[in-house]
Symmetry: C2
Subunit: 277 residues, 2 copies
């Protein structure tokens, strides 16, 4: 029951029709007796900077979930940005700190790596290939680096994207060996599809699955279907896999912690979610 | 259940802790299957003009309930103001029209006169005394004039307030005889206490109740207690009365209609309200 004492979390993006976060966060807040509510706010790109500043002057707001098309624009509006934000160049979580300053973080990658660790993959020292150096790929790379992987190979069909991401990771995590290379998935502990390939039925595979070793863990960002072609092929070879929506449900506890609402497990969140995934 | 398709109605004021509208509107929306939600937004005076402009650029907002301290400041931010807004000099309802313009109205007085008419008082042609020419008094006077009363006598301890209100009414409703006079309640069809007198236990009465005729209807704006001293005295003399909260529950249907959410009766609203009045 929303009241004048309820803490607001804005969910900002455009269009809003397909927003799913309210169906997960709000039932969770209700179940846990947390007096907070996620409120979708449809904001076009040209209105966003002024709106965000104005919104965070409200006396009953604590934070915002940021989604398309504002993740990149948010970075310039922050007072404090996490390394993940600076590496990814995008931000999906904003917190109004008690001193009035806006802190930003980026949890796409956090959700991904939390999921891997929950499945028993030890990231410290792991050798990783990330295919796709766009927004979500950058976020995953930042989180892998933060978890202390030994090396990351980056591949992107647009090579300068991979090179620029490699440079940003080196700056923040000099102990991680980052290189731009090929998309050959042989001899890695972890291979990640961070491209949109798999969203359409006739997409080619993002890498040559025949070169996967059964000991390699394969992660996916595409959520359009649970088992994408690359995951199906990886499973056939005996690889352990992580599906796209795991990233989502692993990300939400990171948001809850960031906003100061305690935490939750992905299973607890899936149980209260009022929407099918 | 809030979703990305839900229409937002902002409830803007400061402080927000005592807001009661969400406890009435939101259960009503739920009961009627209307996909809308009233969201309290605590906004300080210095932030208000920029916030209001930014808020109404959102793609999923339809309107706002405006409360203290913003009712007067809102007038200057409107593209179109109702006569009630122009006479009262304040606005408590803002609608985003389909052409992007902001229309403002003021329903304090509407709530008051709707309540009188529901109780069988015929306002067309009525002779009225309104004691108190502040915000709520001005709104009531505007609404009485709109209902076609024949004459309104205004009294305020600060006489220039009454004079200025009289001038504004004359400008918009030249056929209504408005005069500034005494607070003697004899010989009126309707006498209104639009002062805060009655909020504190030792307040004097706003007018000499001994001069009330039993045929006079007495209305009250104070909501602190259901039967205020002036209402108790009027009842003793045989007068019909209207309590302060009637204005509130009669006002909400006017808001609902203004926002395009159909309408409701005060009794229906009181039945779903999740707060005691």
């Amino acid at each position: 029951m929303i009241s004048g004492k309820t803490t607001l979390i804005a969910h900002i993006g455009y269009p809003t029709e397909s927003f799913r976060a309210p169906f997960i966060y709000n039932p969770w807040f209700e179940e846990r007796g947390i007096d907070a509510v996620v409120v979708p706010m449809g904001c076009k790109a040209e209105d966003y900077p002024a709106f965000l500043r104005s919104l965070f002057r409200l006396t009953n707001i604590r934070g915002a979930l940021i989604t398309m098309p504002h993740k990149v624009a948010t970075v310039a509006l922050l007072d404090a940005a996490s390394p993940a934000v600076r590496i990814a160049g995008s931000c999906n979580a904003v917190l109004l700190r008690s001193d009035g300053r806006l802190a930003g973080d980026m949890f796409d990658g956090t959700g991904f790596t939390r999921g891997l660790e929950r499945k028993g993959l030890r990231l410290a020292g792991a050798r990783c290939l990330v295919v796709g150096a766009g927004g979500v790929g950058s976020a995953i790379v930042a989180s892998l680096a933060a978890q202390g992987v030994s090396g990351i190979t980056l591949f992107d069909v647009h090579r300068p994207s991979a090179e620029s991401l490699a440079a940003r990771v080196c700056e923040h995590y000099p102990s991680v060996a980052v290189e731009v290379g090929s998309n050959d998935p042989a001899d890695y502990d972890l291979v990640v599809n961070a491209t949109p390939l798999g969203m359409k039925p006739d997409d080619p595979l993002p890498f040559d699955v025949a070169r996967l070793s059964p000991s390699t863990f394969v992660g996916e960002v595409v959520m359009k279907q649970e088992i994408t072609p690359v995951l199906a092929a990886a499973r056939e070879r005996g690889c352990r896999v992580q599906v796209g929506t795991d990233m989502l449900f692993e990300m939400i506890p990171a948001y809850l912690e960031f906003f100061g609402f305690g935490t939750a497990t992905p299973d607890e969140l899936r149980a209260v979610a009022k929407v099918a995934y």
